[in-house]
């Protein structure tokens, strides 16, 4: 792995996850001659213009054709090229779900799918452009690894970890311009191993994606009120880190799962599925986008509307403790 891009983190934070992704892919390309990036008429939107200029022989555009994006990637992967297929999370994995299943999952091919602008950050563009169900779709496909990184450096580490892991991958990107740097220094990152961001024995916030910042904010507020909150960065949604869940089940009184996804089939669903095997586990409540299409509004409006800001998480925890 190249030197950690610590000097870029503030820039990536300010610019948002697309820039962090695109520059991470450039750094990866400089080290891995067999990797390529493919997109679906999204070059400027995905901040991939520089990648295209620097690596014209390793950059492909299939046009507005997400199914073909996945099948083309499958064919390349089948023959030893390492494709990163980049598209809006609102369009992958839902539109090419069947290609992800029949080509990437079934053949267990070494191709990586990146869905950017996951969740509801496209606010004013409306529900066609929200990715609220992408985790549920990808989770249902065997062989897929799913990671939703929480901050700029974790995006970089996820992309490099995906490149080194043999098998299909879905990387779900959240966090717009100004999303916080939560890992300012290098840190230990392993696929399938959650990070205990903060210890605590009352409530446990189990979060995925850039909402980790809200969960940490909630833990801070609770601490000032004398309530101890554990914060778990569950970057890998599949395979789920059951070791940390076992610890939470044993030590915490309440679980709050935090995700920018519907209440069905996402992180909350995954935790509930695992938890259902055991007796005497803590109550779980889900902070999520619920099971509904959203009202139109800014990202900030939609987070509040769905109870996903730090003060909302505090209220949810206090109500249920």
């Amino acid at each position: 792995m190249s030197n950690m891009p610590i000097d870029r983190l503030q820039k990536w934070s300010k610019a948002g996850h697309r820039t962090a992704m695109a520059e991470s892919l450039e750094l990866l390309a400089s080290e891995m001659p067999e990797m390529c990036t493919i997109t679906a008429d999204l070059t400027p939107t995905a901040r991939l213009t520089k990648f295209k200029e620097r690596y014209p022989d390793r950059f492909f555009d299939v046009g507005i054709a997400e199914q073909n994006l996945i099948d083309f990637s499958a064919g390349l992967a089948k023959e030893g090229i390492l494709p990163f297929a980049v598209a809006l999370a609102a369009m992958v994995p839902m539109r090419p779900a069947e290609q992800m299943r029949a080509a990437l999952g079934y053949m267990n091919l070494n191709a990586k799918v990146i869905g950017f602008e996951a969740g509801v950050r496209f606010g004013p563009l409306g529900n066609t452009h929200y990715a609220m169900d992408d985790i549920a779709v990808a989770r249902a496909i065997p062989n897929f690894t799913i990671i939703s990184p929480s901050d700029p450096l974790q995006i970089y580490k996820t992309i490099f970890a995906a490149a080194e892991h043999d098998g299909p991958f879905y990387i779900r990107l959240t966090g717009g311009p100004g999303f916080p740097v939560l890992y300012p220094e290098d840190f230990d990152f392993q696929i399938g191993k959650a990070i205990e961001y903060r210890p605590g024995n009352d409530v446990a916030f189990i979060s995925t994606g850039s909402l980790l910042g809200e969960a940490i904010g909630a833990a801070d507020i609770l601490q000032s009120k004398g309530i101890s909150a554990r914060v778990v960065d569950m970057h890998t949604i599949k395979p789920l880190d059951t070791n940390i869940l076992d610890k939470v089940f044993a030590q915490n009184k309440l679980i709050v799962t935090v995700e920018e996804h519907t209440s069905i089939g996402g992180l909350g669903g995954a935790v509930a599925e695992y938890k259902s095997r055991f007796e005497n586990t803590p109550k779980q409540v889900m902070a999520s986008l619920g099971d509904k299409f959203q009202k139109l509004g800014s990202y900030e409006f939609l987070l509040k509307e769905n109870g996903l800001t730090a003060p909302d998480l505090v209220a949810l925890a206090e109500t249920n403790l």
Partner: protein, 283 residues
Amino acid sequence: MVNQKLVEIIQDKAALMRRDVIEMGYAAGGHGAHFGPALSSIEIVASLFFEIMHHDSGNPRMAERDRFVLSKGHACLAYYAALVETGYITKEQMYTFKGDNSFLSGHPSLNIKYGLEVSTGSLGNGLAIACGMAKAAKIKKENHKVYCVVGDGECNAGIIWEAAMNGAKNKLDNLVAIIDRNGVQLAGKTSEIMDFDIEAAWKAFGWEVFVLTKGNDASSMLEALEKMKNSNSGKPHMIIADTVKGKGISFMEDSLSWHARPMEQEQYEQAVSDLENAFTGGN
């Protein structure tokens, strides 16, 4: 002109493959099998495996092998029959078709050691994947070709046309696709289900198109494949081969009812009898 001796060899291999198709399909019992779409494509697959493609059943992972993708995956019996007759699969394994825990499912499943290159069955996707494989060969500066058999009904699928655009854009002249135009799909004639000018469509999408009116004639098929294999037109190649659904079995030919179904003993005996007359005696 194609060497007559070679034509006779392909004809005899085609006859053996048809017999394997019947054996496997009959062995599947009540599960039934896609007889019609396999039998129409036999000359395509036989010509590829016994003459056109560079491959070695003793070395199935050989990097320079030509790649075969059966996009119309439901015609897997033709593919399996070729793998049996070229030594990738034993006769004993052949009879496990559709059986519990067999690797020979009703649609091909990736298994390189048995010559099964790509999992297909979800129609349209095989061609799109084949484009990726052909592109990979170009990127890696490898000279092998990718051959892909497509159904005419399969051309209803949108992904086929996404692949068509992509193949032309990437100038994949190392890709040879063959449409097995047998004119019949699951629920009826292709002309009734979704009628369009398939030849004009492929030309409009930028492919080098060759229409072969005698798609079950080994000599014509060999000639067409040889021509497309050696064409460096900068375009992907498409042979549209007119074939007969259920070719070679009297009661299946051009039949709407033999797309996929179980075979009774009487029908099996009739099919075997039909095939006994198909050998040239030259091999």
